[in-house]
Amino acid sequence: MNEYRPVPGTEVPLHRIAHGRTGDKGNRLNVSVIAYRPEYFPILCEQVTEERVRALFAHRRPTAVRRYVLPNLWALNFVIDDVLEGGVNDSLNLDGHGKTHSFLVLSLPVRVPEEFRTIKEEETAR
């Protein structure tokens, strides 16, 4: 059971309010970030920015980071160029696809308003 209760005014990992999935093509990564509830979506739009995602991947030296906003789907889609160190066919990484990296993005701290302070299991997963 998830007993986590964010304290108002403190940051929580993005993982508490959103989920996502990584895809790869060549040396380009895409990461979707999807709000569990529509009321979380504005937090994503405001705080999960291209700049912050670029900073998360700084050690991989991205050449471009683009964010696409999909309000119908409560989702953002990030396209991050040249961070797979060659991609699945040419990388020394255990995870050449970069598949694990959705959870790097989900580790980003975000600030949630007070009324969301009791985010818990039944509100996120159905």
Binding site: M1, N77, D90, L92
Partner: protein
């Protein structure tokens, strides 16, 4: 418009998928009634080059190695119930795959069947590698490719269905075509109707990775729980003549389909969501809406399309040299200190001339970078870690040195190392290219 609802299920989403997934899909399709098909998507980017190598060593190989095991449980019920089978399991040798399917049918006592082979994707066989272009449209010369295959569209597959094929074997096609073709055939859709092509392509995109839309690759305990993840039902789309559709999954299985599983898969491997390029349409998912209609049933609407691109995408495969890997574990007090020392030792032994990467699994590995900057920053003190060294080289003997130097840590390295594993594997490198679509000649061959 010929049919009411057309059902297409997915039996495999990659080469190596669960072999027992397809039968519950077929049983569910039989229960639904109406026109139906099942698709098998088993062809990754590198798979084709590996298959080409297999074909070179044996003209009867070069197709999906698990083909017979994938089809054995479902071939007979599909033929008996007029459920078409479409698969890119032909890989580098669709004709040999078709022969194998006919032989399997005989062995299983199946009714006679018509098997169609789609050809034209293999640009080496067609002598078209001189027509390749880069993204900007400039001629691209490729030296010694192992494979060069264009992503074909749905038209020849729909043609094969119209010719009465029970089983359609392809090499490289765009994955969603394996679903789009049955929708086109049964609903009488025109390839020029961009919004219908978009809707069918989106449905195929959702189906093509199998369980990834129905609770696979999704579970995050306490946040995203998935019922019976050991028995996830593979997906089934119910497509209406006007392009509206719902996605669900096989009956009496685990897994789940809801707006969150569907959203993850809509955006999977999508870049600009307003311009997803396929051979059949430029798909725009920005207007897509989702509605949960029932348990494990999501209605998907609002996909739109623009006319298909003038060029087809091509994946070219090359010899990618060798990847050598070695691993050793350290645990208990100062495990990380001993692991870091082990990495230093192996790096010094391997010398500066090799392309070497070091990870400490448990502290920093998959998020790490080749230079080790990420790993350097990690300050946790896990008590059970695993050192990993990877080396890439065109020379197998050089790649082998990763495993050799890790092995030597048993007696020469830091205290308490154990559990050495090593391997050296051949690699296939790939690059993307383009070709003008009118250059590529596709054909439908009925082989039985």
């Amino acid at each position: 418009m010929k049919a009411g609802t057309v059902f297409v299920g997915c039996g495999a989403g990659f080469s190596g998928d669960r072999l027992d997934a397809a039968l519950p899909v077929v049983e569910s399709l039989v229960r639904r009634g109406g026109p139906a098909a099942i698709m098998f998507e088993t062809l990754g980017e590198r798979t084709l080059a590996l298959a080409q190598l297999a074909r070179l060593s044996d003209p009867d190989r070069g197709y999906e190695p698990l083909l017979e095991r994938l089809l054995a449980p479902v071939l007979k019920p599909c033929l008996q119930n007029r459920i078409a089978i479409l698969g890119n399991f032909g890989a580098a040798n669709p004709r040999a795959a078709a022969r194998a399917i006919v032989a399997l049918g005989r062995k299983l006592g199946c009714p006679s069947m018509r098997v169609a082979v789609i050809t034209g994707d293999d640009l080496i066989e067609a002598g078209l590698t001189g027509d390749l272009q880069d993204e900007a449209g400039k001629p691209l010369s490729v030296a010694a490719p192992l494979s060069a295959n264009a992503y074909l569209g749905a038209a020849p597959l729909a043609e094969a269905m119209a010719a009465g094929a029970d089983v359609i074997v392809t090499g490289r096609v765009a994955d969603p075509t394996l679903a789009l073709a049955p929708f086109m055939h049964h609903h009488g859709w025109s390839p020029d109707d961009c919004n219908l092509m978009a809707s069918g392509t989106l449905a195929g995109h959702l189906l093509e990775c199998g369980a990834q839309v129905s609770g696979g690759y999704y579970a995050d305990p306490g946040f995203k729980d998935v019922p019976d993840p050991h028995n996830i039902g593979f997906p089934i789309v119910a497509m209406q003549p006007d392009g509206s559709f719902t996605i669900g999954k096989a009956d009496n299985t685990g897994g789940l389909v809801n707006r969150h599983t569907v959203t993850e898969q809509i955006l999977y491997e999508i870049h600009d969501p307003a311009r997803y390029l396929t051979p059949d349409v430029v798909l725009d998912v920005t207007g897509v809406s989702l509605a949960e209609r029932a348990a494990n049933e999501v209605e998907v609407s609002g996909a739109t399309g623009a006319p298909r691109p003038e060029r087809l995408k091509v994946t070219v495969g090359f010899d990618g040299g060798w990847l050598g890997e070695g691993e050793i574990s350290y645990a208990g007090p100062n495990a990380v200190g001993r692991a870091r020392l082990a990495l230093d030792v192996v790096r010094k032994r391997l010398g500066p001339g090799l392309n070497v990467r070091g990870d400490i699994i448990g502290l920093g590995s998959v998020f790490n970078d080749d230079g080790g900057a990420w790993l350097e920053r990690q300050s946790g003190l896990p008590g059970d870690v695993r050192v990993r060294i990877a080396v890439m080289s065109p020379d197998k003997a050089e790649a082998d040195r990763a495993g050799e130097e890790i092995l030597a840590l048993y007696t020469c390295g830091p205290a308490g190392g154990g559990g050495v594993r090593s391997s050296t594997r051949r690699r296939i490198a790939t690059t993307s290219a383009f070709i003008r679509r009118e250059k590529v000649r596709t054909a439908v061959e009925m082989v039985s």
